[in-house]
Point group: C2
Chain length 384, copies 2
């Protein structure tokens, strides 16, 4: 296993001292990683972190796929004590209990937080792939996770888990490797994107593409389309939260005069300031092309591709039990879409627990609503 990233100068983003790297074995005995839509990648690197101990018979592994913008650092560890994006969920005695499970979290293929993606060096040209990165799908991200497990000599998962985009990847994983995982946890995911969500994401992509600095995907590393990324991220944030939460949190509070910039049409309301602050934190820490590739992959994903219809696709999932979680205020991956997953699995005879969480936090609830999420996931694994 290659523990050195192939693009060390570009993997600073989201890569922590706890991050490990694996170079995946390719298909057909070659080093080529063949993608669903026909493209090929050479020497694919996947960044991951892990917690807990792999049991002597390798039967306690959990694989977590992430949402669009988060990396492999899901929880703190000795190697990196900084809190991870799912700190409240993963750890000794927590809902995903690292005293019991060996937990692996991967940065998705195509991401920019350590795994091979559009800003990685294309060995054929010695330059970043940019928009020459091949068409990427959710199925490819699942496959890269599977190849990583092969590298770790793990051929069976106790569970595959994912929220948001990660939930789509978890579904694809369970579809592609139906005999290789016992439990599935899908949180605020979808069997396929519906038009409102496609529109929200398409618009984010168009905003980035509309930034003259995007240059058709071939910008320099220090000349990123930051204006486009800032605006796209703000639009993303709007879709991740719920109106009622912001109403309670900000109402119509104004930014104090001292904090204003005295520009025409400047930021005036606290909600605008909140978006600006959070979007600025993101820009510079995420590659614009990665954003485009991952975003489009979510639009393309369709469980029906596996068997002709969504329900026929879901019937190909053979886990012992699935936990399907939705959030009532989620406008991006609405709870009805979670119910669709649950009902499709039940129709196929699977054992399913469906939980509709009445959280005020919208799509992002899994990241912030510890009180609602921890018990549900803890109870599920207590019985697994």
């Amino acid at each position: 296993m290659n523990i050195k990233p192939l693009h060390p100068s570009r993997t600073h983003r989201g890569v922590t001292s706890a991050t490990k790297f694996a170079t995946l074995i390719g298909d057909y005995g070659t080093s080529d990683f063949v993608l669903k839509r026909g493209g090929r990648l050479h020497e694919v690197t996947i960044a991951y972190e892990c917690w807990g101990q792999l049991s002597p018979n390798y039967d306690n592994a959990m694989l977590i796929f992430t949402g669009l913008s988060t990396g492999a650092h899901a929880a703190s560890s000795e190697a990196n004590p900084e809190p991870g994006w799912w700190e409240f969920m993963i750890g000794p005695g927590k809902a995903i209990d690292t005293n019991r499970f060996f937990v692996i979290c991967v940065n998705a293929l195509g991401g920019c937080l350590g795994s091979t993606g559009p800003e990685s060096i294309n060995p054929a040209t010695d330059k970043p792939y940019g928009a020459d990165f091949p068409d990427l799908t959710i199925e490819d991200m699942a496959k890269a996770g599977h190849h990583l497990l092969s590298e770790l000599d793990i051929d069976h998962l106790h569970a595959v888990i994912g929220p948001s985009m990660g939930g789509m990847i978890a579904l694809a994983y369970a579809l592609q490797y139906p005999e290789e995982c016992d439990y599935l946890v899908s949180i605020s995911a979808a069997t396929r994107a519906l038009p409102f969500t496609i529109a929200m994401r398409s618009l984010q992509r168009e905003i980035i593409r509309g930034d003259p600095k995007w240059k058709n995907g071939f910008y320099e590393a220090d000349q990123e389309p930051e204006t486009g990324m800032l605006l796209a991220r703000k639009l993303g944030l709007v879709s991740y939260r719920a109106a009622e939460e912001w109403h309670q949190r900000f109402d119509r509070a104004r930014v104090s005069k001292e904090r204003r910039k005295n520009e025409p049409f400047e930021i005036e309301f606290e909600v605008e300031s909140y978006l600006d602050y959070n979007a600025h934190k993101f820009v510079g820490n995420f590659d614009a092309n990665s954003y485009l590739y991952l975003s489009r992959a979510m639009d393309w994903f369709d469980v029906a591709d596996f068997a002709g219809s969504v329900n026929a696709g879901l019937a190909k999932i053979h886990v012992k039990k699935a936990l399907i979680i939705g959030v009532t205020t989620d406008i991006l991956f609405p709870v009805e879409q979670q119910q669709e997953i649950a009902e499709g699995l039940i129709k196929a005879g699977r054992n399913v627990e469906f939980v509709s969480i009445d959280s005020i936090n919208g799509h992002d609830a899994f990241l912030v609503d510890r009180d609602h999420f921890s018990p549900v996931i803890s109870d599920f694994f207590a019985q697994s």
Copy 2:
């Protein structure tokens, strides 16, 4: 009354052969029109259209304020047989019956469809105002409508009517001139914008401002920030419709290969094509600065400004009866905000009819859902 627009070369947009123009009398015997936030405008022109006959005792006038993007051409007429934006609602025998009422629809002050706005010529410089246009509020738009009525020698309205932004203006009208109108119809409006809506609008404004061609509001008439306007309009359209409508209408239908452009990250789903088509129709027909001024005015509007709280403000409205309409799938001006208007008026002892319409068309329902809207408004006026 001046029937010649002050800026003839710039009023082609949305101005039809039926459009009339009035130069408003200013405040305090001068020609200055003093705005709520302190700015002044000279020789304000308001574009309007009218239908029906004013009764001998001038008691059958109705004033309609419009949403952000529509002009005074609400319905066809002999002078202009083209269908208007509310064609199904206004006409002989229709819900707003022009056999009975004299109906006036105005292009809001600050708009770009014939009324004085940022692209009008600033008499002080002989150039367009651009971002030198003074701060504009919903209250100013109501006042301009009131001044227009003075020009027409109408001192009392049978009803003031408005959907969306027009509903806010109608509320402001009823607040500012409580003894001068008998009936109020507010459709999908708000007593004040809440953070989700502010965020959606702020982001549209930031997208326009982020277009290098915006030039801080001082672009040339033939060098408009079209990319910013296109993207802002798309975002607007996303907020005007409801997810379920698009699901039923587009699902995951793809654009045929012949209609694709073979660009990276090109349009692929029909919902993207729909947005692109409709946004392109808008760009070039609407001034970017007008969009900014009207959009911000909606964020600023707050009924509480009139009396210290929303309910105290609503209590200042003294119509004989109000019809308050909301749509269950509206995410921009949610039905709860319509209920708030109705309840505030009821608390103040007003006679109120509140109708929650279960339409699939979201915020735009008033424009397209004839079957739900016509009977409600028809019944209301039948009893007025």
